[in-house]
């Protein structure tokens, strides 16, 4: 499970410091550092946010202003897998609405929520540049195009069974 480790593992702290050192000012590594934490823990908890802020030499308030600004940085826990279903125009034309309704029904959640078994979080996303294969979605960084209810069902079943 995605429990927040505190403090951050030493190698990750070192990696964040290295990212900061590459920048003219450490704060230039804000997004990269938060992404690193999220890649490991699934989201950015407040303790981790504070720690990253310390490492970058900026205030937690300052860093949280950045963290809450970006769409892909999660300040709340998510499930083991995150489905990001494109809700932009080409996918909408190509039927992402019924697809989303189908998915919500199947997972018994609304967009923005996580399934009861903590397996899957469903998030809408803006255009992911796969419009020629609309409707499209991302499952944990993997792009899927030309999604249909049938292919979706299959994907969900596989997901449920992967840790």
């Amino acid at each position: 499970m995605w429990t927040a480790e505190y403090p951050l593992p030493a190698p990750m702290r070192a990696e964040i410091l290295a990212l900061a050192a590459q920048e003219l000012h450490p704060r230039g590594a804000s997004v990269a550092a938060l992404r690193l934490v999220q890649a490991r823990f699934g989201w950015v908890s407040t303790v981790h946010l504070r720690e990253v802020a310390d490492l970058l030499g900026i205030s937690a308030d300052d860093l949280d202003g950045v963290a809450t600004y970006f769409n892909l940085l999660f300040r709340r826990p998510v499930g083991r897998h995150v489905i990001m279903l494109c809700d932009s125009v080409s996918c909408w034309i190509m039927g992402r609405e019924p697809l989303c309704a189908h998915l919500c029904g199947k997972l018994d959640i609304r967009p923005g929520e996580t399934t009861a078994d903590n397996a899957i979080t469903l998030l809408p996303t803006v255009c992911i540049g796969h419009c020629d294969h609309a409707p499209a979605m991302l499952i944990d960084d993997t792009l899927h195009g030309d999604v249909t209810t049938a292919s979706l069902d299959q994907l969900i079943d596989t997901l449920r069974n992967t840790p």
């Binding site: 590459q22 920048e23 003219l24 000012h25 704060r27 230039g28 590594a29 804000s30 997004v31 990269a32 938060l34 992404r35 970058l56 900026i58 202003g65 950045v66 600004y69 970006f70 769409n71 892909l72 940085l73 990001m84 809700d87 932009s88 125009v89 080409s90 909408w92 034309i93 190509m94 039927g95 992402r96 609405e97 019924p98 697809l99 189908h102 996303t125 803006v126 255009c127 992911i128 540049g129 796969h130 419009c131 020629d132 294969h133 609309a134 409707p135 991302l138 960084d141 792009l143 030309d146 999604v147 249909t148 209810t149």
Partner: protein, 438 residues
């Protein structure tokens, strides 16, 4: 299919084989421009060649690339901190051209960046990559690593005395980061709100240093311009503009996709010949010619040449050159609502009209589409289109971009709006976008 020599940007891209490595890239004509430039051309000559090539920015605004560079202070890279930034944020809905270039031939971008950096004498290169492009990120990493290893990047490239390296900034999702000044703010680890100009990025950009921001496609053109000369490049275009352009089509066409074609190729040819025309049972009703922030044009304008000037004459903008097709069975109001939802959500929140005006527009469209629209809502939509649409009223071009489809849609689909309000429902059977897949 166009011959490879006339498809310089994509000729080397082979999805089956994956992106070329340094050697393969060299064998296919890569690095030639770099050798030439660093070996025998002065930075000013690079800028001059690019100016003469008539290359215009492919990021959407279409600003002359050579002209843009000419504002950069001329000190050598070793004397002044300067940045060359590739804008690979590509978040414009309906746009997927840069990903093709990034995944297909990352070394081409690397070489383009070296040439641009040499021209403006920037020592630091950054690829501002949108967070979702994980595959592109991995390939680009590999390409940069290999180029560095082989001496194309780093200290004293080819013994020329010019040093330049590239690092990748993986963003975390925000359309406005593609706007070049917001992009700089994002790189500084701040909330990515746009900045006022002046100072222009070319004089006071990242951390206050001179910075050039160019679109990926713009930069990918450079190796070919330098290697083959500006005249060759201008010769590729069909109209006033130089070079090729990546065009794309999404929506209910037979073969959605993207193609590299001479700039100025007529829209009809792109849709009919390359995208295979509309899918059976669907009619083309209207389209956004260059991404979500361009104005609708209808089926009567299909013969427009897709270059900057002609599309503008047709009442829209070339934008990214990536067309989104509205078919006759999709509700135009639903489509506009979808677009305005995007723009409202992606407003950075800095200036009032955009931050609080776009959500109002979205709610009006929600109401109309859901059957609770009122006559006076049309006045409100119209007012917003006027108040937000003209440049200079909002802080950046986000809101005017957002108003392009709305303002044009209000005219083009007036009858649809009226029908929604009169009938108290969406007349398109199950609402828009109802079909599930092809």
């Amino acid at each position: 299919m166009t011959p490879a020599s006339e498809r310089p940007l994509t000729a080397m891209i082979d999805p089956a084989a994956g992106p070329p490595d340094c050697a393969a890239y060299g064998r296919a004509g890569g690095w030639q421009a770099t050798r030439l430039a660093l070996g025998s051309l002065a930075p000013a000559e690079i800028i001059d060649m690019v100016t003469r090539s008539k290359l215009r920015g492919r990021g959407g605004a279409g600003f002359g690339t050579g002209q843009k560079w000419s504002f950069v202070p001329k000190e050598p890279a070793s004397e002044r901190r300067k940045y060359l930034i590739a804008n690979a944020d590509e978040m414009e809905p309906g746009t997927f051209k840069d990903r093709w270039l990034l995944e297909g031939n990352p070394l081409q971008l690397v070489e383009g960046m070296i040439l641009a950096a040499y021209g403006v004498q920037a020592g630091h290169g950054i690829v501002f990559l949108r967070g979702e492009y994980q595959e592109a990120c991995a390939r680009l990493h590999r390409a940069i690593g290999e180029a560095r290893q082989q001496g194309w990047l780093g200290e004293n490239i080819l013994g020329s005395g010019f040093s330049f390296d590239i690092h990748i900034h993986s963003s975390a999702g925000r359309y406005i980061c593609g706007e070049e000044t917001a992009l700089l703010t994002a790189l500084e680890g701040r909330r990515a709100t746009p900045r006022s100009k002046p100072p222009f990025p070319q004089t006071g950009g990242l951390w206050g240093a001179p910075s050039v921001v160019n679109n990926v496609e713009t930069l990918c053109n450079l190796p070919h311009i330098i290697a083959n000369g500006p005249e060759w490049f201008t010769g590729l275009g069909l109209g006033d503009d130089g070079g090729t352009k990546i065009y794309g089509v999404s929506g209910r066409v037979t073969k959605p996709g993207a193609w590299e074609l001479p700039i100025g190729t007529p829209l009809r040819q792109i849709i009919e010949d390359h995208a295979g025309g509309m899918r059976p049972g669907y009619q083309l009703r209207a389209l956004l010619p260059g991404g979500a922030s361009t104005a609708f044009i209808d089926a009567t304008a299909l013969d427009v040449a897709m270059d900057y000037g002609s599309v503008e004459k047709a009442g829209s903008r070339l934008g990214t050159g990536m067309a989104i097709i509205l078919d006759d069975r999709t509700c135009p109001i639903g489509m506009i609502r979808n677009l305005e939802h995007f723009f409202a959500q992606e407003s950075c929140g800095w200036c009032t009209p955009c931050r609080d005006g776009l959500p109002w527009v979205e709610r009006l469209l929600d109401a109309i589409e859901d059957g609770t629209g009122r006559d006076e809502d049309m006045d409100q939509l119209d007012r917003h289109a006027r108040m937000l649409g003209a440049p200079g009223r909002t802080f950046c071009a986000h809101a005017p971009g957002a108003m392009a489809p709305l303002a044009s849609g209000l005219k083009l689909f007036a009858a649809d709006f009226a029908a929604h309000i009169q009938q108290g429902r969406c007349p398109h059977q199950a609402g828009a976008g109802a079909g599930a897949g092809p």
